[in-house]
């Protein structure tokens, strides 16, 4: 792509997936889940992955996160091969993964035990306030609402200052209004922190509202079927023609059509 070595270095992608395959053995049969995927993601990019239920989008995210080893192919982040989970890249789970035996403060500070006390306290305080949980420092997760729990998990992830955030349908369990608020919050935080975000969702609106780019996966075995840039500036007008056109195209790619 780039002609000189220096610009190649600058342009080198954050995440590079090459010829990724994953298969499981189930009842003695090899079942293909991910099928020859190639993908590059730039630093600071917000990428949404959509696909039908059970297509393997969540599995893809787990492979990227290092929780599952690929059957073949490779994943490189910062030109370094991924061999397992890494505190530089934090996963936000679909079902709340906050630790119920720790209060808000304990959860946010969980990964920071190596820091000096002062810095740790400072950072915990900062991220608790960033996600709007100020005043709940000593509250335990079971006393928080679903939306607050999800904010807590985002705060816990951000407090690690990761350069990549993996989000597996993070707002799927929330009600409509909370979900809309959480999207707004996530965008605000992302614009402030500029992490690379890879978010898996089955909600096309969520993908088109949040992503710089949307990847549409095919049904199992998953392949990247469609890769589209969302060139609309934030805040996005969800009734604008560009928005609706992109939404329709993605629906078409999923084979759902836009008429019921």
């Amino acid at each position: 792509m780039s002609s000189t070595a220096t610009s190649a270095k600058l342009d080198s992608p954050k995440v590079r997936v090459r010829d990724l395959c994953l298969q499981f053995e189930r009842n003695g049969k090899q079942e293909k889940i991910l099928d020859h995927m190639d993908l590059t993601i730039q630093s600071g990019e917000f990428v949404c992955i959509v696909g039908t239920s059970g297509c393997g989008k969540s599995t893809l995210l787990h492979v990227l996160g290092g929780f599952l080893a690929p059957s073949s192919g490779s994943i490189e982040i910062d030109e370094e091969e991924v061999h397992g989970p890494d505190p530089r890249r934090i996963f936000v789970f679909q079902e709340s993964g906050v630790f119920p035996w720790l209060n808000v403060e304990g959860n946010v500070g969980f990964g920071l035990s190596a820091l000096p006390r002062q810095e740790r306290t400072e950072r915990v305080r900062h991220y608790i306030h960033l996600v709007g949980l100020g005043g709940f420092e000593h509250t335990f997760p079971q006393q928080l609402s679903g939306g607050m729990k999800q904010r807590l998990e985002v705060a816990r992830a951000l407090a690690m200052k990761p350069d990549v955030l993996y989000m597996d349908e993070p707002f799927a369990g929330l009600d409509f209004i909370t979900r809309m608020e959480m999207r707004k919050e996530l965008l605000r935080i992302w614009q402030q922190e500029r992490k690379t975000v890879i978010l898996v969702t089955h909600d096309i609106d969520e993908a088109v509202q949040l992503g710089d780019r949307v990847l549409v996966l095919s049904a199992r075995p998953a392949r990247i079927r469609f890769d589209v840039e969302i060139g609309i500036a934030h805040p996005r007008d969800v009734s604008s023609p560009e928005y609706l056109e992109l939404r329709t195209r993605i629906l078409d790619e999923l084979g759902i059509g836009h008429r019921i």
Binding site: F93, G97, F99, W101, F110, P141, Q142
Partner: protein, 253 residues
């Protein structure tokens, strides 16, 4: 609500005492002693210090036996939960040890440790350890993968993962299993004390019978066993209410 609660708390014991008195009155006095005779016996035991001595002896043994069993079995159970091969190698031994009544160990424990505290402590240990290993194994296996994945994501070493994620996540199930085990251990101790030692609440009962069928003392001993057992269980129950494990109640609801 408050009235019916007091009523329940007072009425049921009163009814029980009345029935007891009735039964005692209709039978030869040494078969069922009257509540009054038992109360007198209890206060006599308390006054001459032998009740305190026996309670201390029993509680001392159960504390040490149970603590040692926990210190041995919980780490072993966690280790077995993590390493499948070791688990498969040790499982037959555990399954073989578990159905052997701890009381069957009395002859050996007397042979190895003599008549005394260490013999009773050993009995409690052997009564608790195999069960506690299996309880720990089950509790650790039930820890949600999501917590372990999160822990790994934060870069924890295996030791830290065990200490900071797996142990707290398994704690509620572990504690409730420990509570049941402690109750079993208490009944084993009393039975053991009837044979293997010459102090403790079990010994008190046996001694009262052998020293001329003093069934008032036997009843007093039984009552003390019930009360101490209740207190031990309540203490374990308090542990289950700490913030560290209370979350599981909300989780279940």
């Amino acid at each position: 609500m408050a009235i019916s609660r007091t009523l329940r708390l007072v009425a049921v014991p009163l009814l029980f005492l009345a029935l007891w008195q009735l039964a005692a009155g209709r039978s030869p006095s040494h078969v069922i002693p009257t509540p009054h005779a038992v109360a007198t016996a209890l206060s006599k035991l308390a006054k001459n210090g032998s009740l305190e001595k026996d309670i201390v002896a029993s509680v001392f043994r159960i504390t040490w036996g149970f603590l040692l069993a926990c210190l041995f079995a919980v780490p072993l159970g966690m280790f077995l939960a993590l390493y499948r091969r070791t688990r498969m190698a040790l499982n037959p031994l555990l399954q073989l040890l578990r159905p052997i009544s701890p009381l069957a160990w009395i002859p050996l424990s007397v042979l190895w440790f003599g008549i005394g505290d260490s013999s009773a402590v050993f009995l409690i240990f052997i009564a608790c350890a195999p069960t506690l290993v299996l309880i720990t194994l089950a509790a650790v296996s039930n820890v949600k993968t999501i917590y372990i994945d999160a822990g790994r994501n934060f870069g924890l070493s295996t030791a830290n993962l065990l200490w900071r994620v797996i142990l707290p996540a398994a704690a509620p199930q572990l504690l409730s299993g420990m509570r049941t085990t402690l109750a079993v251990a208490w009944s084993v101790l009393v039975a053991g004390e009837m044979i293997a030692v010459n102090s403790g609440l079990g010994f008190l009962i046996m001694d009262a019978r052998n020293a001329g069928n003093r069934f008032d003392l036997v009843f007093a001993g039984m009552l003390s066993i019930g009360i101490v057992g209740f207190v031990l269980d309540a203490a374990m129950g308090l542990l289950e209410r700490t913030d560290f494990v209370r979350w599981s109640l909300a989780d279940r609801a």
